[in-house]
């Protein structure tokens, strides 16, 4: 069972990704105003969804670690933060590539772009803390608090297009409360992409957690070996 689940998740990721790619490049109609480049949206938005999912998980795992103190919650938070950072980077990169032909610029300090960049900086700080500090309980607690505080930015990103003047489109629900996608095939393609990215996130999280468990095992074995060797020299 232990080796079976990641293989199943990897296979499900490949299958769902291929389906999503087929729908994006063959099935879905080309958007009238933006043309073919609008198809970036079908992977850009799922990247954002996985970013929010991952950082939400960091906050929940951080809360559970502070409450219960179990190492597994700390490991879950660390793994989710790393994945959230990966997908947040992809959101910024794909958004920038999409912006150039549509807005004529690679980057602007628009409310949604700026708040997303702040999220990237917050969790970049989280990962720097985990990378350069020792793997102690104190650092794990600091990281848990940072993970909880950082997630406050997520709802701000979501409502930023309604709170401030922005050039970023409100795709799923417009300011007037209307549906942002005009064709049902666009909705279907977006849903399949969201599913594919969610499965991929679960798979990557599982693999990353396995690596963190191995790291803990190495630390335990090193400690045991040092104790035994010290005893043998006495």
């Amino acid at each position: 069972m232990k080796g079976y689940l990641p293989v199943t998740l990897a296979a499900a990721t490949c299958l769902s990704m291929l389906t999503a790619l087929y729908m994006v490049f063959v099935y879905v109609p080309t958007e009238v105003d933006q043309g073919i480049v609008q198809r970036i949206f079908y992977f850009h938005l799922p990247c954002a969804w996985v970013t929010f999912l991952a950082f939400g998980m960091v906050a929940i795992a951080g809360g559970l670690y502070l409450w219960l103190g179990h190492k597994i919650w700390d490991d879950l938070g660390y793994a989710a933060a790393e994945l959230g950072m990966l997908f947040c980077t992809l959101v910024l990169v794909t958004g920038s590539i999409w912006a150039k032909p549509i807005w004529g610029i690679w980057w602007t300090w628009d409310s949604r772009l700026t708040t997303t960049f702040i999220l990237w900086l917050i969790y970049g700080g989280y990962l720097l803390l985990r990378s350069f500090a020792d793997d102690t309980e104190e650092i794990a607690r600091f990281a848990a608090v940072l993970g909880i505080v950082g997630v406050v930015d997520v709802p701000i990103i979501i409502i930023s297009v309604r709170l401030w003047r922005t050039i970023h489109p409100a795709v799923l629900l417009t300011r007037q409360g209307e549906h942002g996608l005009e064709d049902p095939r666009m909705v279907a393609t977006l849903l399949v992409s969201l599913g594919a990215f969610t499965i991929m996130f679960v798979w990557l999280l599982w693999v990353r957690l396995a690596t963190l468990r191995l790291r803990s095992r190495v630390a335990t074995l090193r400690r045991d070996l040092a104790v035994l060797e010290a005893g043998a020299h006495l």
Binding site: V37, I40, M200, R217
Partner: protein, 60 residues
Amino acid sequence: MEHLGYLFVAYSSIFVLIGLYVIFIGRRQVRLEREVGRLETALHDVEQAAGVPQPPAEDL
């Protein structure tokens, strides 16, 4: 087919970055598995040399 290049670069960047991350995790996992094997062998040897009672063979 205007802006096809942007579309290509956007999708390529997604798969390249995720692919690099998967390779990074995979290599790290292999290295840690080797390290666990090496440490378990070393621990076993030290325990034997120190005369620590070993668990029955079926428990290993």
